[in-house]
Symmetry: C2
Subunit: 446 residues, 2 copies
């Protein structure tokens, strides 16, 4: 394992959602390109364009063997609230068998599993047993715009038999897991305007509209206290998973009380009480309020009636919901929920469709077998509540399935303080991907 | 007019609500003490104690004449949102007959009217026609703790016939106004805790409680969309103003459409629709949400379920509501409104009782006459929706009425960006206070 190189990669604060980090984005992209070139890949290069650079590289020396499109992202989430990190987010350290850093699991650490597995294969006397094309982006945590335009426009160049993505988590420690479904997302801002300026609550309380209150009222109108979304039409296209899938989920090893207490750490779980937990997390749309900007939130007492507010919200989508339709339904619901005296609008920041993959596909089956071999347990199939927009894009533009071999763990704190990756999972992940390459070499090319 | 000295005073960013400004607080207090000493007052001094220093000074040379307790505050509100200021908040400038700076009206500019009127009197051959005791604090915009302890403990030293406070606004330009009632306030934070850490909304959306949403839900439960406060018992002690007072308010020169459009700048007014506007502003309790801290409110998309939230709220109180009782009612209502999976508590930051003064008192009558003389119009009596906690304290501890001669204007943007004071009002205020001193000299001492 090249942990030293991974440490150097993790030290680059390549936060794509904050414009102040554009230099770091460039450094992270160049780091990946240089590393792949040194590992022996051909045509390692940056593709510049509107948005952050893509990194491409390939090795096509396994004549007659399948070709894999290996995807990952070099950008990371913002580190705030930074004061809650035990060690600095961009200063990776190992504690108790875990590697702590922003991006340790999502996705620098997992991307490095793919990179190292390929480098390991290239060092073998016979070379890598399959062909690979790396496609690595730097906007997975923000807009994803560049890759969204690139893939449809370069379908020939990217042609492959399947995509492999290491950006998900195993269901439990030591339990090999393949992810067969992802939720989509609609993320944006509700922007509210009330009075011309902030006003004094003594002089104007009882007359001036309050933009922060209006934002709170709008969001409360969009979702009830039991987690049911109150946006007309939103559930119309929601498909229930098959009875077999629901039954498999019921059999997963799981202690809901331990999950509530240890993993979430709350006095009760939220969400639709009449829906089983995994269905809520994987197969139901949800709405979250991420924060409300505006007014006075500092130390002490400032008696202001805020004139402006921005509520950051997102919806997770499930098959067969369509992002454009959901945005339109959401805009109507916001208009309906806006109190008098204020104007509210919704600005879309990003969107992606939900998707499901077929577990009967041979590229999925061989991945399950490879993981079973390394972890010595039967691979389970789950879905993921998160969104990996690229999976839908690969399906639509390249016509290929995505194999989601994830080696994260449920308590990795991705998108939160103290993100980590298990060193043991990193090592087994590397073995499993190498084993997968070997197995694919004996598959008849589709 | 000593505008140069006032400019120097306004340049000190003596923000009491932010702990980073404690040096500025000390500089502002020393500035006032030195100025009063140079103006010829006796015993000009700082009183240190828990909280920001008080400034005291007196002149007791008018034997047999009434004694006035002159109150003001040298601290100011925080300047944010700072980007909305046309000129920097602590760099005073005059534009179109107005002096722009944080504190121009609230209260450094108006305090300077009292200071200059006294200095002017002391320069006259016969000296000042009344006795004066200055009591100036530096926590009016934050806790007010120091003066709250000082006044009851030093009632003998502070004994006077009436207090004079220049910290309110005239009802309209050129319309002399006395304020006969003030709302009280309860200001604090609703603190909400959900999960142990912030969590990823893809992985946990549908299971993890969202603290920001819970804060929004609690606040929305405390007040309906028509401005009615939903806290059981809150309206029980609310007293309607007398028919004569309500009738006088109806006769005030006022254009509600101009108020909505020019002064507030919103598409509609908020607040209880069935209650007339001045009653809503001056004689009804109101609740405002000032801001919600927590989660992600920056640029871009961070898909976090916030684990912590702090909602800053305040209630304005009217006679005969009691702050302690309101806090208790509020705590009960918050407990009742807290959704499952989170804990919420209320931390009180400051409180003061509402109060009304009797317009028949001779110190009030002479003030009305002095203002009428200078402004050449009949003085009107109004109430103020804001809170000046010291008025209740003077009444309770010293047994004296407060004369609220204010020379601000409704559009002075106090507590907001671009605070200003009319130079003409400053000048007429100075004349009116001087005239008031003269008139009081002929009053038989009570």
């Amino acid at each position: 394992m090249y942990l030293k190189d991974l440490f150097a990669f993790l030290r680059i604060p390549s936060v794509s959602a904050l414009s102040g980090h554009s230099d770091d984005i460039g450094r992270a992209a160049a780091f990946v390109r240089d590393w792949l070139e040194q590992a022996g890949l051909d045509h390692a290069r940056l593709v510049e364009g509107r948005g952050n650079p893509l990194v491409l590289a390939e090795w096509m020396g396994a004549k007659g063997k399948p070709t894999l499109l290996l995807y990952g992202h070099y950008d990371v989430q913002p580190p705030d609230p930074i004061e809650e990190w035990v060690s600095p987010p961009f200063d990776p350290v190992i504690r108790e068998g875990n590697l702590y850093a922003r991006g340790a699991a999502d996705d620098k650490g997992q991307l490095f599993i793919l990179m190292e597995a390929v480098a390991r294969g290239l060092r073998e006397p016979g070379g890598l047993p399959v062909n690979v094309k790396f496609l690595i982006e730097g906007e997975e945590e923000s807009s994803g715009e560049h890759i969204e335009r690139y893939v449809p426009a370069h379908a020939g160049e990217l042609c492959a038999d399947a995509a492999v993505i290491c950006d998900t988590a195993m269901f439990a420690p030591d339990l090999p897991t393949l992810t067969t479904g992802l939720r989509g997302i609609v993320y944006g801002e509700i922007q509210v305007r009330g009075a011309r300026n902030d006003l004094h609550s003594g002089d104007y309380g009882g007359a001036a509209p309050n933009a922060i209150e209006a934002a709170a009222q709008i969001v409360c109108a969009l979702k009830d206290r039991d987690g049911h979304i109150r946006i007309p039409g939103l559930y119309d296209r929601v498909e229930r998973p098959s009875p077999a899938e629901l039954d498999a989920w019921r059999k997963l090893p799981f202690d809901v009380e331990a999950y509530r207490e240890k993993e979430i750490g709350a006095s009760a779980l939220a969400g639709e009480p009449e829906i089983p937990l995994f269905e809520r997390l994987w197969a139901r749309p949800t709405l979250e309020l991420h924060g409300i900007r505006g007014g006075f939130t500092g130390e002490g007492s400032k008696t202001v009636i805020p004139a402006r507010a921005v509520a950051k919200i997102s919806l997770r989508l499930v098959p067969d919901q369509r992002p454009e339709e959901v945005v339109s339904q959401l805009r109507d619901a916001i208009a309906h929920a806006t109190p008098r005296g204020v104007q509210a609008s919704f600005e879309l920041l990003s969107a992606s469709a939900p998707c499901v993959v077929n577990p009967e596909n041979p590229f999925i089956r061989e991945a399950a077998a490879a993981m079973q071999r390394v972890f010595d347990r039967e691979t389970v199939y789950v879905r993921c509540g998160g969104s990996i927009p690229i999976v839908g894009l690969f399906e639509k533009s390249l016509g290929i399935p995505s194999v989601l071999m994830g080696f994260g763990l449920p308590d990795d704190n991705i998108h939160a303080p103290n993100e980590k990756m298990s060193i043991s999972n990193y090592s087994k992940g590397l073995d499993a991907v190498s084993e997968y390459f070997q197995r694919l070499a004996s598959l008849t090319r589709a």
